[in-house]
């Protein structure tokens, strides 16, 4: 029964998306308002059907209705409720349905916020958005059908992938990434509508920036949580491995970051408008490529679901979107670029943004090449190769250093033309200071030029951000006699984009310093400990206290208990473990981490023996915690910057009235 209703809902959503796409295109071409209303209503219909279908699937999962194909595939009577709910995105079919759900929500929010504004642009955007929706509905209705009926209904199922069940971060990492990935279709639709209409108004551009920023925040959060999860669960003490699927999420992030910067120049100076649209379209295409990588079984990675039939269908879709974008761009780029002003001086803010964009695009191509290279080699020969960390590290380190440098330069340089004297005055102090920091780290024994470079460039960048953040606050405190919290809040509200932007930059600085330190000073060793015999390792005293088995309905855990102490201070008991999931029989290691501001102690259980010994891997990495702090700062800053202006304006006008009264 549920299978039938579910399929019906998906088909209704498909019908709404197809008709909305057609009506939207027509009303965009004819510039008719009535058609626009119809498109909006069809968007709401599509979104509602998608939401209903997803809720129905959740209902089937929670009630363990094993007559539904997807439930039989990932459900299990012994799985805890919260895991059952999130198992919606634990396998291919469910995750595509969830994709459609998120797209439905985005489409409805977009249709709602644009009502009564920019009729032609909105009609085109909704048409493109629903065009994307047609494809996903088609997938859900055909090759990746989660509602397929099961002939012989099993009494119980295997439960979801153990990796999903193993950590709370796995519950939030995929939805955050989905919000970022799926969300990119909104900026894409907006960019296409500007190209279809042949004009890019300032208001539309501003909306495009706001949407991209919001989506970018989710993407950042998703990537960050993925790294965090990998650190907390996978047991090797790392957070980023340049795995094809990590790259797949990183590439659209890079392209979107480039857009966020070029869009500033477009808004301020009317430069690079065509180029900005190219970046938006590229970001969306890279998210599609990323999804293809995870879902087609072409790449070997922890993320890839095994061989699946959606690969060829997806590839056809990617090809269609590519051809559509290229035709659109080649038809309209000249019209848009004709209105662009020309860049004045290289030593100006727009000059530094141009350089920033070149670096980001280089970075994207570097990652793309490294990711696709094994496929290229295999296509022209029979050889199998893999491109690993050394390539990516070697290529990305100089680009990252250059970007750090630009972070210290770009926001400080004035728009337009700058005088040499002015430039000298702006940069002498931060430059001297960063050289001092570099020399200091050399004096303290750091010999790697990359680490020294990172420290000194991070200082340079931090200087610029701290100054840009503090100057308006200090000014308010001095001129208007405001207290620090009020001055901070007011300047955050008034210059919200710049304020948020600099918080993001400081987050990047924290992450850069953290990555450099954690990589450079990482120490690890595999040890075998005998019960109750303390062992000294990397300045810590570890004592193996014994092992125990914990039995839960869905899993059995073998827990090794270790007490840790450092410098006479007791750090408590750490419990790295193996979790074995009963239904699937897979063993998943679960490391234990003692995290501090200075460094992390990371224990990963390798094996427990009956004779009172246990083997474990001990990893000590400095400053890892700052990676998460920096990442969260980036997300926080971008949320500040993308906060809707209308709400803020309302608030400050209320305040102004209060002042008058």
């Amino acid at each position: 029964m549920i299978s039938l209703i579910g399929r019906g809902l998906v088909l209704l959503a498909l019908a709404a998306a197809v008709s909305g796409c057609v009506v939207g295109s027509i009303s965009g071409i004819r510039k008719r308002d009535r058609g626009g209303d119809w498109t909006r209503n069809l968007t709401f219909a599509f979104g509602s059907f998608m939401v209903m279908a997803t809720l129905l699937m959740e209902y089937a999962l929670i009630t363990h209705d094993f007559s539904v194909g997807y439930v039989a595939q990932v459900g299990s009577l012994s799985t805890p409720l919260h895991i059952t709910i999130v198992s919606l995105w634990s396998a291919l079919e469910g995750s595509i349905l969830f994709w459609g759900f998120v797209l439905g929500i985005y489409a409805m929010v977009f249709a709602w916020t644009t009502r009564g504004r920019h009729p032609q642009h909105t009609a085109y955007s909704l048409a493109v958005l629903l065009g994307v929706a047609v494809f996903f509905c088609f997938l859900v209705a055909s090759v990746a059908d989660p509602f397929a009926a099961v002939e012989v209904v099993p009494p119980d199922g295997p439960g979801p992938n153990p990796l999903l069940q193993n950590h709370v971060l796995m519950i939030i990492h995929p939805p955050a990434l989905y919000l970022g990935f799926v969300g990119m279709s909104v900026p894409f639709a907006m960019a296409c509508s500007a190209l279809l209409a042949g004009r890019l108004d300032a208001a539309w551009m501003q909306m495009l920036r706001r949407w991209t920023l919001l989506v970018w925040s989710f993407l950042t959060l998703g990537i960050l949580l993925g790294g965090w999860w990998s650190y907390e669960v996978l047991g090797w003490g790392g957070y980023w491995a340049w795995d094809p699927v990590e790259n797949a999420s990183f590439m659209p992030w890079l392209a979107a970051t480039a857009f966020l910067h070029s869009a500033m120049v477009t808004a301020r100076k009317g430069l690079f408008s065509g180029w900005s649209l190219v970046l938006v379209i590229a970001s969306f295409l890279l998210t599609l490529l990323g999804t293809f990588m995870t879902r087609s079984g072409v790449f070997n990675s922890v993320h890839s679901f095994t061989q699946s039939p959606i690969g060829p269908v997806f590839l056809v879709f990617i090809a269609i979107v590519l051809v559509f974008s290229v035709i659109l761009l080649s038809a309209r780029l000249d019209t848009l670029a004709a209105k662009d002003a020309s860049i004045g001086s290289a030593v100006s803010r727009e000059g530094s943004f141009l350089l920033n964009n070149l670096l980001f695009v280089c970075f994207t191509f570097t990652v793309l090449l490294g990711t696709l290279y094994p496929l290229i080699v295999e296509a022209i020969s029979e050889n199998r190769i893999s491109v690993g960390q050394p390539y990516f590290d070697a290529m990305s380190a100089p680009i990252c250093l250059a970007l750090l440098f630009l972070m210290g330069v770009g926001p400080v340089l004035p728009w337009g033309r700058s005088e040499p004297g002015q430039v000298r005055q702006l940069f002498v102090r931060p430059a001297v200071f960063s050289v001092v920091v570099g020399a200091l780290s050399f004096a303290l024994g750091v010999r790697s030029p990359w680490v020294i470079g990172t420290f000194s460039m991070a200082t340079f960048a931090a200087w610029a951000s701290v100054r840009e953040l503090s100057t308006p606050v200090l000014l308010r405190m001095r001129k208007q006699g405001e207290a620090l919290p009020k001055a901070l809040l007011e300047s955050a509200i008034r210059t919200r984009r710049r304020f948020g932007g600099h918080i993001v930059h400081l987050g990047v600085v924290a992450m850069a310093v953290s990555v450099a330190s954690a990589t450079h000073w990482r120490e690890d060793v595999d040890l075998t400990l005998t019960q109750d015999e303390p062992v000294e390792v990397f300045g810590y005293t570890l004592t193996y206290l014994g092992a125990e088995n914990q039995d839960q309905p869905h899993r059995v855990s073998q827990v090794g208990r270790f007490s840790a102490a450092a410098g006479g201070r007791d750090l408590g008991v750490l419990e790295p473990r193996f979790n074995r999931y009963k239904k699937r029989g897979d063993e998943v290691p679960s490391p234990a981490v003692y995290s501090g501001p200075k460094e992390d102690l990371y224990l990963s259980l390798l094996r427990v023996d009956d004779d009172g010994t246990a083997s474990l891997r001990v990893v000590v990495q400095p400053m890892v915690a700052w990676l998460w702090v920096g990442g969260l700062m980036m997300v926080f800053g971008s949320f500040i910057a993308s906060f809707p202006e209308r709400i803020l304006r309302r608030r400050s006008s209320v305040e102004a009235q209060g002042d008058v009264a």
Binding site: F292, F299, N300, V326, L329, S330, L375, I376, D586
Partner: protein
């Protein structure tokens, strides 16, 4: 219409789609890593079993052999153990050999006493034989035909169906 953008764009698309389509068309499995030893002669060895019996590659010439590298600390090895036991009983004319990888003989004996054994497990001091076979991790299973050639290497927990398939191939 900007023809330069259009043509270079379409060219780029063609390349990208071709690169992505190849693995789909070839139907290759990215998780499989072919062994360079496949189709070559199996390396020679002279090892003692847990029971103290000596086994040499020379004495196996003319017989089909299945060699399984395993360890007690390896979860997937335990997972495939029942399939190997059953297969060894089903194909008495095939020589099944376990080779212990990075593990202590006493532990292996204890495990086999509990989980059951149907064929000898060889002790590989300093993992010399594993190195000769290019073993990268456990479990790995090699199928060797009567001429002493490695026909197939499976580098993941093996199933009964897979064992039957490759045993047919080496007989």
């Amino acid at each position: 219409m900007n023809w330069k953008v259009l043509l270079s764009g379409l060219f780029g698309i063609g390349l990208l789609v071709a690169v992505l389509a190849v693995p789909i068309l070839k139907g290759t499995d990215p998780h499989a890593l072919p062994s360079v030893l496949e189709g070559r002669k199996a390396p020679g060895f002279l090892l003692d079993s847990l029971e103290g019996q000596t086994w040499s590659s020379d004495s196996l010439v003319g017989k089909p052999v299945v060699m399984n590298f395993w360890a007690t600390w390896c979860g997937p090895c335990k997972q495939e153990h029942p399939a190997l036991l059953a297969a060894a009983r089903m194909y008495p004319e095939v020589v099944f050999l376990g080779v212990l990888y990075g593990d202590e003989p006493a532990k292996a004996q204890r495990y086999l006493a509990r989980a059951g054994a149907a064929y000898p497990t060889l002790v590989d001091p300093a993992q010399r034989t594993a190195m000769d076979f290019g073993v990268g991790g456990v479990p790995e299973t090699f199928f060797i035909d009567r001429q002493g050639q490695i026909v197939k290497k499976v580098a993941q927990p093996i199933s009964m169906g897979e064992i039957s398939h490759w045993v047919e191939a080496i007989q």
